[in-house]
Each structure stands twice: as C-alpha cells, then as structure tokens.
Amino acid sequence: MAASEMSARFRPGDRVRVRKAYPLGHIRTPFYIRGHSGVVERLCGSFGNPEELAQMRSGEPKQPLYRVRFLQKDVWPGYRGDARDVLEVEIFQHWLE
C-alpha cells in the first residue's frame, strides 16, 4: 500500500503565517514562532505527522515540511542585531496559513 501524502499548498517565495495555537500534545512547531509571518524558503519533502506518530498512530497522510525564513527583528522583541538577520525554522504545512 502506498503511503498517503498531502499535496503541497505553498511554494518558495510565498508569504505564510504560523498558526497561533497552543493545543496539548507533542508539537514540533516552536512556541516562539507561533503567530509570526515569514517566507517559504524551500519545500523539504513530506514526512509522517509527528503529532500523530507520538500517539502510536501512523502519521499518515504525510505532511509537507517547509523551511520558512523569518526576520530576527520580527521574532524577538528589542532585537539589537542587524535588521537583515534571519531565522529559519522547519514547519509542517498544517501549521501554516
């Protein structure tokens, strides 16, 4: 049986926002990045959903994983580094809108 997979909704260059939600469970989207907006840098591939894999389920359909680029100054209040500094975080599609 072929593994089921969600199709990719975003492309490199697309502006995306990370959902600002705090459900219980095992979640790989860091707290500090939720609610922030960035730009898709690349599609990394599709992988089993860790939120499901952590709970003894199959993790399917596989979810596209994106590397998203954020500006450090947008993420950290009072950031004193270069205004062009970036932060890249790998985020699953179901956390992006």
Binding site: H26, P30, G59
Partner: protein
C-alpha cells in the same frame, strides 16, 4: 531552551558510560531502523520526555530521560506491564546485593 533564557552552552566532548550506550542501542532496536519490528517512534520518545515534570527533567541526565521515556512508551504500548517492570526491578535490586 524553547526560546527561554538559559545558561551557557558548554561545548565539550562526552565519554559515555556502558549503560548509556545500551540505552542508545535499545532505542535503535525499538525504532526498527535495523529492519526489526518497530515498537516505537522518535516522536513518542520526545513526547514522553516532554511529559516529565519540570523538576524531574532538570534532575535527570540525558540518557536517564531517554530510558524513562522508553519505559513509559513500552508500558503505554502494552509491550511490558507495570507489574512486570516492578518485579524485574526488585529482582535486579536483590541481585545487586544491597
């Protein structure tokens, strides 16, 4: 950690104790990456580490967290029971001659 303020990162090489190597090997075998039956995922390992109470998390070493999490996962999946685990621990404690 997790965007919270933390101490300095100490970049030193670690030497591992034999039991720590065994815990690592146990995780490899249980994950089925060498072709065996997959009895757990790395996500379950992480979930059960995150579930540790903050004081336990702080007190435990890296592989103590792993072995605690692996044990919790095996109980959740019904691979072992709490009863079996408790009896085995008693048996080993006696063997140790304390």
């Amino acid at each position: 950690m997790g965007g919270l303020p933390a101490g300095k990162v100490e970049a030193t090489e670690h030497d591992y104790a034999q039991w720590e190597r065994r815990v690592d090997a146990l995780m490899v075998l249980l994950s089925g990456v060498r072709g065996g039956t997959r009895l757990m995922t790395v996500d379950e390992l992480r979930k059960n580490i995150e579930t540790l109470p903050p004081d336990a998390y702080e007190r435990m070493s890296y592989y103590e967290r792993w072995v605690t999490s692996i044990t919790q996962t095996m109980i959740q999946r019904g691979v072992i029971t709490t009863e079996e685990l408790g009896r085995k621990m008693e048996e080993i404690e006696k063997r140790g001659g304390k």
